[in-house]
Symmetry: C2
Subunit: 281 residues, 2 copies
C-alpha cells in the first residue's frame, strides 16, 4: 500500500493509472475509520482495479463554532485498517497543500443544501462539494462510494456529479450500525456512557416511523410527531430537526406519496448525531 501526501503526486499517479487503463475506485473519508468506512471500501474494492482512500479532515466543511480541531484523528490505525481492506493508495494531504491562502473558487449546490443539516451548518455543503470536486480531480476515480448515513450529502454529491458532468459513478453504501442500532459515526466517541445509551432514541424513532408507515400511515406530521415523542422524553437529547422529505428534491412533504426520507439530527451536549431511513412501499 502506497501513502501519497501531496495533491500533485496524487494526481500524477492517478493520471498514470488511467493511461494504463485502470478503473480507480475511491472512498473519501475524514479518517478515524470505523466499520461504516470499511464497508464502503469493500463496495469499491469489488468494482475497481485500483482502490484509493483519502483521509483528510476538510476545514472548509466545518463552521467557525464546530469541532474541526477536536475532530478525532488516528492515522496509524487508519493506515492499518486501509491496508487490511486492500486499499492500494491512501491519499493523506495536509490542509495547507489542499487550499491556497487566497483560494477563491467554490462549488455551490443551491437547491438541496438549504434544508435538514444545511439549516444549522451554514456553508457546510459548499465545503463538502468543493473538497469532493477537488478530490475527484486529484484521484480521477471512475467510481466513488458514499455512505447513506449522510443522506443529504450523498444526494448533493450525486447532483454535483450530474450538473458538473464528473465521469464518476456514485455508489451508495448502506448505513452500518452498532449491534444495538446506533449508526456508526466518528463522533460517537464523544458520547459519555449515559449519552451513548440515550443516543439509541434516534434509531428507535426511525423504527417507529417505519412501523407506522408499514401500517399505512401516510401523514408526515403524524410520523414526525411519533418520532419526536420517542426523543422528547430523553433527558439531554435536544432535537435539531425531524423531517420527512421527498427523497429526490429533499422538499418537506405533507402526505407521503412516493419515496421519502425520514431524517433527524439530535444533539447530546456538544455532540450532534444524525440518522435516517428511506420509506417506500
Amino acid at each position: 500500500m502506497e501513502v501519497i501526501r501531496t495533491p500533485k503526486a496524487m494526481q500524477q499517479r492517478a493520471l498514470e493509472l488511467k493511461r494504463e487503463g485502470c478503473v480507480i475506485g475511491f472512498v473519501p473519508t475524514m479518517g478515524f475509520l470505523h466499520e461504516g468506512h470499511l464497508s464502503l471500501m469493500r463496495l469499491a474494492r469489488a468494482r475497481c482495479d485500483v482502490l484509493v482512500a483519502s483521509i483528510f479532515v476538510n476545514p472548509a466543511q466545518f463552521g467557525p463554532t464546530e469541532d474541526l480541531d477536536a475532530y478525532p484523528r488516528s492515522f496509524e490505525r487508519d493506515e492499518a485498517l486501509c491496508e487490511r481492506e486492500g486499499v492500494d493508495i491512501v491519499f493523506y494531504p495536509d490542509a495547507g497543500n489542499m487550499y491556497a491562502d487566497d483560494a477563491s473558487v467554490w462549488v455551490d449546490e443551491e437547491s438541496l443544501s438549504g434544508v435538514l443539516c444545511g439549516v444549522a451548518r451554514e456553508g457546510h455543503f459548499r465545503g463538502v462539494c468543493t473538497v469532493v470536486a477537488k478530490l475527484f480531480n486529484l484521484v480521477q476515480p471512475g467510481l466513488a462510494v458514499f455512505g447513506e448515513k449522510d443522506a443529504q450529502q450523498l444526494r448533493i454529491i450525486e447532483r454535483m456529479v450530474r450538473d458538473l458532468n464528473f465521469p464518476v459513478d456514485i455508489i451508495r453504501g448502506p448505513i452500518i450500525r452498532e449491534p444495538d442500532g446506533l449508526a456508526m459515526s466518528s463522533r460517537n466517541k464523544y458520547l459519555s456512557g449515559r449519552q451513548r445509551e440515550d443516543a439509541l432514541c434516534l434509531r428507535k424513532s426511525l423504527d417507529q416511523a417505519e412501523e407506522l408507515f408499514g401500517l399505512g400511515e401516510r401523514d408526515a406530521k403524524v410520523l414526525r410527531q411519533a418520532m419526536a415523542d420517542l426523543i422528547d422524553p430523553v433527558p439531554g437529547a435536544e432535537i435539531e430537526y425531524i423531517e420527512i422529505v421527498d427523497d429526490a428534491s429533499l422538499a418537506a412533504v405533507d402526505g407521503i406519496n412516493g419515496v421519502v426520507l425520514a431524517a433527524l439530527a439530535v444533539r447530546f451536549g456538544a455532540t450532534r448525531l444524525i440518522d435516517n431511513a428511506m420509506l417506500h412501499v
Copy 2:
C-alpha cells in the same frame, strides 16, 4: 473530423482517448469563429494528440438583458474552419443537453469576479466557470487554450484550475487584431460602419497608455485619464470602465509597481467591446 452532439457521447469518446494515452487539447468557443479563435486552435494543435473544439453558446453566462438570442451563429461555416485548422472533434451540444431543468450546482469565483466586466455583468463569471468546469469534465483535456482578449476570464479560469485541481494546463493565446488594430470579436459584426471606425478608440487608448508607461509614467490615475481623453470625444462611445489593475489579483492600483493590466469596456449603442494590454517594464 467528427462532430459530437451529446455530452454523454463526448465524455465516452474522451475517456476512451485518454485510456489510449492521448493528450487532448481543447479550445472552447461560442462559435461564429474568427481569426482569434483559429489562432487558439493552432496553439493547441501544436501541443496535443487529439484536438477538440467546442461550439456552445452558453446561456448561463448571459444576463437577462444580454444578447443570448441575438448572439451570432454559423455552424456550417464554423465546421469548415475547424476542419481546416486540423480539429479532430467538434463538440456541438444543445443547451437542453447541457443543463438539467433543475440544475442547482454552480462554480463560483469570489475574488477576481467582482471587478471589471463582473460589475456590469452580474453572474457572468459564474456561468463561465460552471460551463468550463462541465466542458473540462466532458472533454478531459490535458491542455486548453483561452484568449488574452478576455483577460479577466482567463485569470478566473486559471484560478479555477488551481483551486479545484483540474489536471489541465491553461495556455494563453495573444489578442488577434484586425489590420487597423480592433481586437477581433464575434460582437464586431454588430457595429455599423461608423461605429466600426469609432471602435478604434479602444486600441488607441491602450497605445497611449503603453506609450506613457514607456516614458516612465507610473500613476494609474494619469494613465486612466489619458485613455479616457481619447474615448470621451468619440460620439456614441460610452465608457463602461477604464481600469489599471494588478495583473494577478485584478485589484485597482494607484502607483504602478509590478505587472498591471490596462483594461476597458466601451459601449457603442447596444454593442459592448472590451480590450486590454499588459504593462510591464
